[in-house]
Subunit: 141 residues, 4 copies
């Protein structure tokens, strides 16, 4: 997980498997979402959960996943590295790396748009978000 200072680990559930015994592709999106929620919480700039809608919210605008290997039931943890890739005026991009037992499962990327639900429109990325996203160094151990 070189270059991924933040890593969230998710337990593979039997329900995550599909009829081929592989981790279903939609579950990759769930693992990525969970890692994103944990990463954004770790930035300590949100005064409430990321999914609470208000003046300071964000919208998932784009998701891309490159699947590199099928995931299986074992080993039973999937590690999801998260890192900020770029911060624009109204949006930012996070990159992800999914590994299972040290093997690369997928690489992914999401674009998140800063959004004000109360006014129902996009808005500039707040300075404290920008600072947190651009802060160097490890976020978790």
């Amino acid at each position: 997980m070189d270059g991924y200072p933040f890593v969230h680990s998710e337990h593979v559930r039997f329900r995550d498997l599909d009829a081929m015994g592989h981790i279903n592709n939609a579950v990759f999106a769930t693992y990525i979402e969970q890692a994103r929620v944990e990463y954004l919480a770790s930035l300590n700039v949100l005064d409430r959960p990321v999914y609470d809608q208000g003046a300071e919210s964000m919208i998932l605008a784009r998701l891309e996943i490159d699947f590199r290997a099928p995931g299986d039931a074992e080993p039973d943890m999937v590690d999801i590295g998260v890192r900020p890739a770029s911060v624009g005026r109204k949006s930012f991009t996070l990159d992800y790396r999914l590994e299972q037992g040290g093997e690369l499962l997928a690489e992914a990327s999401t674009v998140l748009v800063s959004y004000d639900y109360e006014r129902a429109r996009s808005r500039e990325v707040p300075d404290d978000w920008r600072n947190a996203l651009e802060r160097p160094g490890p976020v978790n151990a």
Copy 2:
């Protein structure tokens, strides 16, 4: 759904909603998967379900989704248009358009690699698949 000869409709379940009351982003991947399964079955070139692994199988190599509007519980159907975008030597690309009540929810694309599970390696797209994918005109009504 202009340009999408094949359209699959999926019923929005309460379980598809997230804590914001929107259709969760991972569920978009599930809708897309279901439309893909139905589309591939409609081509009539597979002698068994697409998820049966054998000499004639395919692997999802890439998924990209551009979210255009949040999906809601109502109207309770999401329409997913599918069309072949390109057919390469060992892979092909399908494009998707998701609408709810005529409103655009998302545009998406997947790359599928032709794969032989028995030999554990990619292989050329079979001719009958290629012919079916390149066949013009409406696939379903």
Copy 3:
């Protein structure tokens, strides 16, 4: 579906299958929930979706499912019959029958407690709910 005046049909998704190729047991709970949402909406006594929390809400207090046969990918629809079994002072019981292609998959039952989220306590089943639940005859065709 004798004795089940209300029947909701749900499309089986590839994502509903587990690693054995069967409809996962938790998905039965989802089918039952969806049929319940549709059934309660059909009673026309709620002025908003059943999952909106307020003075007139209900809580799922108990779920029991007897699995009679494994569900499969085909036929691709599961029919879920719903009927009121009994109405108590503060709760009521709904019974369910799940069939796939005419074959019995499961029988189920739920207890729902009438609840006032604003006051955070159970309350009597409102008269209009009681009347609707005890109304005889077919609810949908």
Copy 4:
């Protein structure tokens, strides 16, 4: 978790929440399933995963859940205690207790039938299963 020698903990995912912000009832079934899979694996009497179908398999015949409190996003772990309740000739019953942050969320019970998929019929609970299920004392710490 008095009386529950085996406890499995599952991380609450954002995807586990429903539109009310509560852990969805079907996800309780998934937590219970996951704890069951882990518990059965801990008995060390199966030579392959419980969901592999063969001569020594089991079928979920009944699930009942009594919901005691809504589950939330926080605290982010749900603990699921599992214990054998009774062992019959061809089936056995497991009891479950779900807690979040020490608070009781639900009590549950499942009946599992010993099944031979190759012969497509129920069969007696194998002696080594029976012995493992009836073995006293803590299974995990």
